[in-house]
């Protein structure tokens, strides 16, 4: 089980949170100018990292705010938590 540090509420049980998938995926500004391949890449392809993964979580049963987490997908250890718009610590993405 995870204990997740909400940037606003502090450490809470994983049960209070909802997972939101890979972080930092930016919706293309001009979808109409993309090829089908580029659009499919945005829509469906994911890094699915084995190792340090930047991902989104929402504190659904708390402050209901979204934020980012760096988590090791093998040990499940949470390495960092940061707010939307912030860069991941260590400059990694």
């Amino acid at each position: 089980m995870l204990q997740i540090e909400c940037p606003w509420c502090g450490a809470r049980d994983q049960e209070e949170f909802q997972y939101g998938g890979e972080a930092h995926i930016v919706r293309p500004e001009h979808p109409e100018s993309l090829t089908d391949l580029q659009w499919a890449d945005y829509l469906f392809n994911r890094a699915n990292v084995k190792g340090v993964h930047a991902e989104q979580w929402c504190h659904t049963a708390g402050c209901r705010r979204w934020f980012n987490v760096l988590r090791d997908t093998v040990s499940y250890k949470i390495l960092a938590v940061y707010r939307p718009g912030e860069r991941p610590p260590g400059g990694e993405e």
């Binding site: 089980m1 995870l2 994983q14 049960e15 909802q18 997972y19 998938g21 089908d36 391949l37 499919a40 890449d41 829509l43 469906f44 392809n45 994911r46 890094a47 699915n48 990292v49 084995k50 993964h53 991902e55 988590r71 997908t73 093998v74 040990s75 499940y76």
Partner: protein, 418 residues
């Protein structure tokens, strides 16, 4: 071809020597410098692929490279439910091909895979569930797949231990039932395919992790492994939860995410449940093994993970659902609980496909429900690799569908996804 055919006579002969002289079921050769086809991943799907390549196609030398031991991945961790009652035509045909292969598999492999067609029941708990069940059941029958609709009274007659009273929190309103569905012995499936492939000259190489996919002028020419470089004309990757990791070795990005999926078994009980019960709405599924253990499957964790374990809260919700359905199980003690890593596609359907890299093939995305497909998946993948084009049964399951938009949306449509 096979030196040691298993039969009543070989059993009697070996009894005389107190079963001390059985020969090994497959060899463990050193890797050759190169092969015509390398299958990466020694789960059921990889071993089945190698078997059908050797048995039905003429492709030359074949090896299966497994990073751990064969069947140690999801093949040995799943709840072994086999059925073919999928909604969409493409999926129904693929899984039904697999079910037909299951029906003759023990004979074909000369290995008892303990395939038991005890039926699979998918419960409905509300009006929408029942509408979906009628729709799927009708679609199945139009595709020639056996499917019946059961009333609560008929369910009670088949499974007396189930609580079908109307005052349950999630009352059972009915079910679909596929009589030809059932369960099989997971380890035996891996071992049976391994032994039969080995007998046809396939090299099964364990403790050999693929760490790189080497290419020459864009086309595959071999793989880097923990046991050195091995050349190959074709590389067929079937690594379930590690699909993205292998895709990354060839600079490919896949629409796959890996999630932990858990299961648990109880202490052995006297026979109490002689069919498979699945419920989508309360998300639990249960059958009883030949040893008497209740085999219970949970849902995936929402987060991605490669750790082969999941969250306790998932187990808690799962067990609550099972106890709600079967109050008499409430004091049964659980013996073991574990997790596997399942590779999930956005449309809950597999990818069995060529890739943009010539000579590189992928078979992945079976998610929470690929055990039932083991023989069929191997059969169509062997065809795809041998002919360098898909069989008509897997043509729709290519990588392209995520670009064209021709998804096969089995999410939710197929009952519980296992």
């Amino acid at each position: 071809m096979r030196k040691n055919r298993y039969s009543i006579f070989s059993l009697a002969r070996n009894a005389v020597s107190y079963h001390q002289d059985w020969s090994e079921a497959w060899h463990s050769p050193e890797p050759a410098p190169s092969y015509d086809v390398i299958v990466v991943g020694g789960g059921g799907h990889g071993l089945a692929t190698a078997y059908y390549l050797a048995a039905e196609h003429d492709v030359g030398r074949i090896a299966v490279l497994e990073k751990g031991w064969i069947g140690g991945g999801n093949t040995g961790r799943n709840t072994t439910i086999v059925r073919s009652n999928y909604l969409w035509d493409e999926a129904a045909h693929l899984y039904e091909k697999s079910l037909k292969l299951w029906e003759g598999l023990s004979q074909e492999l000369n290995f008892n895979v303990m395939f038991s067609q005890r039926g699979v029941m998918n419960l409905g708990h509300n009006l929408q569930d029942m509408r979906d069940i009628y729709r799927r059941s009708n679609a199945n029958r139009l595709n020639g797949i056996d499917s019946e609709i059961l009333t609560p009274a008929e369910i009670k007659a088949k499974v007396p231990a189930m609580n079908v009273s109307s005052d349950a929190r999630y009352p059972v309103l009915g079910a679909s039932f596929q009589p030809r569905g059932g369960v099989a012995r997971h380890d035996a499936v891996a071992w049976g395919f391994a032994r039969a492939a080995d007998a046809r000259g396939v090299d099964i190489i364990q403790n050999c992790e693929v760490t790189g996919i080497r290419r020459e002028k864009g086309a595959v020419c071999g793989v880097e492994t923990t046991r050195g470089y091995i050349g190959a004309k074709k590389v067929a990757v079937v690594v379930a939860g590690h699909a993205s990791v292998l895709a990354d070795m060839a600079e490919l990005r896949f629409p796959v995410e890996s999630h932990p999926l858990q299961a648990l078994v109880s202490e052995p009980l006297k026979p109490v449940l002689d069919t498979v019960v699945m419920s989508n709405a309360v998300h639990g599924y249960v059958s009883q093994s030949d040893k008497g253990e209740l085999v219970i499957g949970a849902g995936i964790d929402a987060y991605t993970g490669y750790g082969q374990r999941g969250s306790f809260s998932i187990i808690e919700g799962n067990v609550a659902a099972i106890v709600e359905l079967f109050p008499i199980f409430s004091r049964v003690r659980m013996l073991r609980q574990w997790g596997g890593i399942v590779d999930v596609c956005p449309d809950a359907c597999p990818i069995i496909s060529k890739t943009p890299v010539p000579g590189l093939y992928f078979n992945c995305g079976w998610g929470t429900g690929g055990f039932k497909a083991t023989p069929g998946s191997g059969w169509v993948f062997a065809y795809t690799v041998a002919k360098d084009e898909p069989h008509q049964l897997n043509a729709a399951f290519d990588l392209e569908r995520f670009t064209t938009g021709a998804l096969i949306d089995e999410h939710g449509a197929a009952g519980v996804a296992h």
